[in-house]
């Protein structure tokens, strides 16, 4: 399912809303999550999962093709942990 298919499903289930508005709603949600993570905040959606930011230290990496050592700068990466309810639902419980 892509973002546009997600929007279509929601439009079908909410016939009182314009397609345009559903699109803005979905975009607003993901923009809000992105903004929170870029502030270093955590986004916790009980039953679904939690988005957070992890700090990765600088390290010496290696170019897998040439074997050459390269320094990799410290960085922050987005991380998602599946919520308990969704994890259970995925496994048919």
């Amino acid at each position: 399912m892509t973002k546009s298919e997600l929007i279509l499903h929601l439009v079908e289930k909410n016939p009182h809303l314009y397609h345009r508005d559903v699109e803005r709603i979905v975009t607003a949600i993901f923009d809000e999550i992105t903004a929170a993570l870029s502030r270093g905040d955590r986004v916790e959606l009980r039953g679904f999962g939690a988005f957070s930011v992890k700090q990765r230290d600088a390290r010496i990496g290696r170019n897998p093709r040439t074997g050459e050592a390269v320094s990799v700068a410290a960085k922050r990466v987005p991380f998602f942990k599946t919520g308990k309810l969704l994890r259970e639902r995925l496994n048919g419980r």
Binding site: K3, A36, T82
Partner: protein
Amino acid sequence: MAGNTVTRAQLGEAVYQEVGLSRNESGELVEAVLLEISDALIRGETVKISSFGSFSVRQKGQRVGRNPKTGEEVPILPRKVLVFRASHVLKSRVDSASPKAAEDDSGEGMPGTVAEPTASPFFPGPGRGGDGGHF
């Protein structure tokens, strides 16, 4: 680092600000979005949200685990796990706002230090992000 937690309430508020719906209905739409995504994943579909990331389901085989408390061997049954891969857009948004700049922003406000929101066009980092070549 900023230790705030954003919940459904703030997402609902963002939806409320965006379109002319009631707060109640805005909250319901946040829930509807999460439900659509969950249902697609349960059907085994991959969910791709452009410029955000993709959620996919991976099947894990059975393996032998150990109860860390008792040291006892226990079989871990085959199961499905959800994997989230952030898009390059999300990765660069998260990495570009350095925590240091964020602290300066809320803190003493050093003279001459203007924290730009898009602070990192200068550090695109060779070999980082662009090639998707990790693992």
